[in-house]
Symmetry: C2
Subunit: 416 residues, 2 copies
Amino acid sequence: MYKISICNFVFGTTVLQPRMAVARLKNQNPGVGHCTKVPRNVNMEKLQHGYLFPEIERHELLHSNKYPHAKVINLGIGDTTEPLPTIITSTMVDFVNGLSTTQGYKGYGPEQGEKPLRKAIADAFYKDLGIKPTEVFVSDGAQCDITRLQLLLGSDVKIAVQDPSFPAYIDSSVIIGQAGELVARAGKYRNIEYMKCGPMNNFFPDLSATSRSEIIFFCSPNNPTGHAATRKQLEQLVHFAKVNGSIIIFDSAYAAYITDDSPRSIFEIPGAREVAIEVSSFSKFSGFTGVRLGWTVVPEELLFSNGFPVVNDFNRIMCTCFNGASNIAQAGGLACLSPEGFKAVRSRINYYMENARILVNALASLGLTVYGGKNAPYVWVHLPGSKSWKVFADILEKTHIITVRAVALAPLVKST
Amino acid sequence: MYKISICNFVFGTTVLQPRMAVARLKNQNPGVGHCTKVPRNVNMEKLQHGYLFPEIERHELLHSNKYPHAKVINLGIGDTTEPLPTIITSTMVDFVNGLSTTQGYKGYGPEQGEKPLRKAIADAFYKDLGIKPTEVFVSDGAQCDITRLQLLLGSDVKIAVQDPSFPAYIDSSVIIGQAGELVARAGKYRNIEYMKCGPMNNFFPDLSATSRSEIIFFCSPNNPTGHAATRKQLEQLVHFAKVNGSIIIFDSAYAAYITDDSPRSIFEIPGAREVAIEVSSFSKFSGFTGVRLGWTVVPEELLFSNGFPVVNDFNRIMCTCFNGASNIAQAGGLACLSPEGFKAVRSRINYYMENARILVNALASLGLTVYGGKNAPYVWVHLPGSKSWKVFADILEKTHIITVRAVALAPLVKST
């Protein structure tokens, strides 16, 4: 299996003498210069080598230097490539032009997001699910909200993650101090519960073998396996969280890619309001990866063990550690949720899914076992007997394709 | 003295039975509903009542309900009010229109910001100060960067703040777990060093009476007192940090408002590269409070006690916990730093400073002692013998003016 979750990386041990190493790299005398007496954060020391995506970028750069004429195709980070529909950009243009007028100028907005956008998100994604606009917090993206949720939770909780999983859950957990020691050989942290998900269990963890943790990160449709959890699976998950007194942080960033009747939100499952937070994003829904817009839903019924509403603390975090998403991005987000905007955005999603289909068919025709690509733009390929980075390097060397996650967001183009 | 720093608030004790209280407020039976077993973060429990600015908003709303016909003037949060120069918005419009084209579409950008913008910031604000573009990290604002710096530092450091100070330094410190217990009577945290700044010491702390702390937050021109530290004062500060092995986090968000020869950056002081980080913003410089854009400078020479470069960890934080500022805001920021853009932005700053002068003169003509308004848009008024919130309430009740911080960004208009 071509596994690429960061928890499976073994990147060598921490540099024990970083000053020496840095100085050597820079060809300097390490004895020179002033050192502060501020200790390096022990949590930062525990992080593995580099965050996944910049690490991939580094490999891409090295490859481009080696093959300056190669046309590299990047299927790595899952970036969007298609121009935004003009109905979205024309709304943003109007908003930006307004900023030059007395009537249209806007300064600070509410840290939680503009009211019409909060309402539009509740209406568009949570219709009939009872989510109030005041439970929707607009942000600059899901990855940023994950860190803010970790700030809210603090270091005294244990998290569980799907294995493989999006690396931000684990890395933010390490930074906030929840993860415990790194077991270098396994590339895993002692205090994180890794819930194995693969073809053997229909990409859903064996909950009977899963230890209790306060927080369960769960991404569906899953990045990177491409699997969307079924209603029955999510009912089991909500039940498991309720019995254990856990909070699910449900990442639905790819919900718009679901083509069958898999739930698009955890709040489709009865009882989820008492056990779940949902993090989501305009990035893959409407190509806002660079524009930056996301949201998080925290239901009022979600309570800490002392009965205090989680939403109150999240509101405090958003007001103190964040200052609102760009008002231009918010204007664009509102346009995406208009009937015409929604339709236009839909056409882009269909395009990306067509790319996924092309990839799946091509890989299958090579005799490979392929998962995903049906309810998500991610394609998960079985390449037995090799380590992730080894496969990554082989594919890059032979085809000039960046994979790591075989993402189908970029069109399939023959490499040169 | 009309003191408004959050460290001086006494807001009553923490609600001991929040679930009960919340239920009572919502007229619900507190026994009903599921509680998770996730403990509330003890650091969140230590935060005082509400973050300053939302708290002010709450007062404003109550006042508007009481006097629905009053025209309230908000001099509170220090918002910008003047339309953006068209040279800035037209650049953003071009960028947004480009997002609808194959050539102009952009997905994920570098988490650290677009290279041309990093270079332009280095050139515009740090000319001849030796700051490299790679030491400049573009962000969605200074307040957000302050939290990210706290994430980088972790809980095992002690911070010092000017007293009074911008509330985000203290609140982010509490959230990350540095602050220690709250001494409710004093409204101060045990493990934070409060450096008194006022007319008695020319708004610069008595460093001989200041205990060592790992981190010194220092804002100049100061929010809220309006005082810009002199070169000599900043030399003392850098010396103090060097001797103590401390790191200064210098907030220069109002540097563009300096009218005399006070340093606009901590990096004007020799030796600062080894002891200081600088956080800054386009918010007050170019009216981007709602557009959201800021930056942080971390020099390569700044090292933790083990010799590890701070910039490496900040880079990791930016890549893991942040996903880049909105690319539209970045395009706008670049336009602000063009020669024409800079000139246009300058005219807005002059306008705000003219407002400050009007306020200072009016308040002085009432016989009040007034500070600030010369190198910053903030005006600091001596109103002896009263508590902050009492003065706040009196002014609001009698004049329909929101003060807390007597900010001159809004034009002085007679209330009705």
